[in-house]
């Protein structure tokens, strides 16, 4: 399924807010300035102005309202809140100014940080990963420099007159097939038939063909494009995982290694003592039938794996 590239700026790699002017919060009272709008809040939560105002007010509001001494402090700070919010609403989205508070660490931080991931790295690349034994994930990009080179070779309208394709090579079984993609995408999930195979992907372009009733009636191209396919670049090689017990590959000989002295011994399954326990049969699937009477060995998604379970450390909250 294609995923449309997001409309984002692609020219700046890292944005960093300017250093915070130490006097940015001069207008706030002492009490107010001991609380902070942290970079976290501004960057991780909604940046709508109203929310920010609320947060500023919340963060300034005293913890224990009932103490009379603090009540006056609240009043005193309310004026300050107005000034603070007005100033900081503008700044929170980019700068997260506001003087730093006294924290348990007691450390002072004066540089405000704000980063965004770049949309692209302007690099000609195709990278291949496996998601499951039969789903591959591919992401790609063509650098501006290479784009210009293709235009020089094949004409200014090279990218308009051609469409992108991914050529999937199954290197284990020795076949290839082609998947048409589009220029709005920068990554793709691809289903393949064969697990436990080595795959490699090539990104290329093909001239647009105009079809009528299944027949090619016209090839839209410029005179400079003479080939039916123009390769751009190739991916890394990936082996997709295995997805079943390899009973079909069962051998009569198995090898054991003594990990202490590194000696390897070959054993004939039929000659092993334990075969007697199950009579004359000596195929691995016969053992497995004894071992795993109640298990479905073909489907692991039925067993709620710990890490996908809600009871995981990664989802600690």
């Amino acid at each position: 399924m294609p995923r449309k590239a997001k409309e984002e700026k692609n020219d700046i790699e890292v944005k960093q807010a300017s250093k915070v002017a130490p006097k940015a919060t001069k207008t706030t009272t002492k009490k107010a300035s001991t609380k902070t709008i942290t970079a976290k809040k501004a960057a991780t939560k909604s940046t709508k102005n109203s929310t920010i105002i609320k947060k500023v007010v919340d963060s300034i509001a005293p913890k224990k309202k009932k103490t009379p001494a603090k009540k006056t402090a609240t009043k005193a700070t309310k004026k300050a809140v107005k000034t603070l919010t007005k100033e900081s609403i503008k700044s929170t989205e980019k700068e997260e100014t506001v003087k730093k508070p006294a924290t348990i660490s007691g450390e002072k931080f004066s540089i405000a940080e704000y980063y965004d991931l770049p949309y692209r790295y302007n690099q000609t690349i195709v990278k291949l990963l496996y998601q499951t034994p039969t789903t591959l994930f591919i992401y790609w990009d063509i650098s501006d420099e290479d784009r210009e080179k293709f235009k020089e070779t094949y004409g200014e309208d090279f990218f308009e007159k051609t469409k992108p394709v991914l050529v999937v090579h199954n290197e284990t079984k020795g076949y290839s097939f082609e998947v048409e993609i589009n220029d709005f995408a920068n990554c793709w999930y691809l289903n393949v038939n064969d697990s436990k195979c080595k795959y490699k992907i090539e990104l290329g372009r093909k001239p647009f063909e105009v079809m009528y009733n299944g027949e090619v009636t016209e090839v839209k191209t410029t005179p400079k494009i003479t080939q039916n396919y123009i390769p751009i670049t190739s991916s890394n090689e990936v082996e997709s995982p295995n997805d079943h017990i390899l009973f079909e590959k069962t051998q009569e000989m198995v090898y054991f290694k003594n990990v202490k002295d590194n000696t390897v011994t070959a054993k004939n399954i039929a000659s092993l003592n334990f075969v007697k326990s199950i009579g004359k049969v000596y195929k691995v699937n016969d053992f497995y039938k004894k071992f795993y009477k109640d298990e479905d060995l073909d489907s692991f998604d039925k067993i709620q794996n710990p890490s996908s379970n809600s009871l995981s450390s990664s989802r600690f909250k």
Binding site: A39, K40, Y115, F256
Partner: protein, 530 residues
Amino acid sequence: MSKNVKGYVSFVLHAHLPFIHHPESDDYLEEQWLFEAISETYIPLLRNFKKLVDEKVEFRITMSMTPPLLWMLDNKLLQKKYIHYLKEHIELCEKEVKRTAYDSRLNELSKYYLNRYSNDLYLFEEVFNCNLIQAFKHFQDIGVLEIITCGATHGFFPILYVNEKTVRAQIAVGVQTYKKYFGRQPRGIWLPECGYVPEADKYLKEFGIEYAIVESHGILYADPTPIYGTYAPIVSPGGLIAFGRDMESSRQVWSSINGYPGDYNYREFYRDIGYEADYDYIKPYIAHDGVRVNTGIKYYRITGKTDQKDYYNLQWAQDSIYKQTGHFFDSRVKQINDIAPYMDHPPIILCPYDAELYGHWWYEGPDWLYILFKKIYYDDCNFKLITPGEYIDKYPNIQVASPCRSSWGANGYNYVWLNPLNDYVHRHLHKAGDRMVELAHLFPNEQDELKRFALNQCARELLLAQSSDWLFIITNQTMVDYAKKRIKDHIGRFTKLYYQIKNDKIDKEYLEEIYKKDKIFDEIDYMIYY
């Protein structure tokens, strides 16, 4: 106790939390993950290990402790914040004892929590001297606990390995950190998310790792098919020994329908006074910005499939523990009796879990282990507890087979860490990995102190960005904003430093400030990327 041993059971608990360290603010709720894990999992486990040792019960357990967790447990600031957390809890519990005076059952529970948090404070400060790592190390040194290592920041190998040097660095730093804290070489590794790729074998061997824990199908789908299934380890052609998770015992604990943690007498996780108490009353003990969060004080038991929850009863919970450990024990006896005749060696039944399941999610988990271990020691049965390392020493003759590429995530492969919600991240992780290798080659063995500092900080930022936790959180839609911010911050800091180093314009003040935030892995040497 002398036994007719026909098999072994091996518990492996994976203790991990992502690196969360915010000296710049006290408002990050995520820091509480560590404090909750200390109070609910790590201290209860240590307490029970001590009880078993004191009672002269012979037992064996294996734990992985990841480098970020070790660093956080060792960090003075976080220790100070934990003590602060405990004192706030004790204050709240004291109020609770007064508030619940109208009901004897509730009052008894609030006193229990007061005792428990007060005891944690005493243990943490006076007994453990704020140093839980030393406490775990002690149990390793006396031979009842085998601690194994993990990738440096829990980077998921099946996605990182397109640049193998980044996997090598995860392993190298994981082993280096382990040696620093435990003073010896780790024998085993918990592959982050049990993510196995054969490409990592050579690096695991390079850094002296003998064995790894993999998912069941990592063994069952191996090539050629292992003749003993998951009941014996296999050794890869690259020399890594792999132990696979036993499905039957896993299901008994993990099943969402009839797994042990779902017992009706156990404590209900989702009913916490942080969400239920009067707002003005609870406000000082929840998030600083007023958002309600868990406090850890929970008064109800699971009760059943109903919203009308009954109060938690400590004795009833104990009764369920006894009942369930009996069931687990009998199931293993039967399983081993069934399997042993078909094997040449005694089988090993490997039971790996997230450590934080025991105590944090499944409140009674640490006591469940304690009672089970006593039962295994005292009762007549056909098995003993063992660690994977000891099993290798006893039975070094291991079938050669290549484990299957696998993980313990949903469906068993990469889906959890690579799907339309989080796939945008990978190009940035790969690019930063490539750039780190580039930097190591541009500036090998840099002598300039500042530049070396910047290069090492680049390595720290890259490792922190690679943590599988961020991808997992995005998939699970929990603390998504925080996870996304962490990826942006680390990639952002890395990239900024990358350009500063290349342009020879290192901003010392900036570098020192981000180091204060991300100062994990003091001894890191960026040349691991060379």
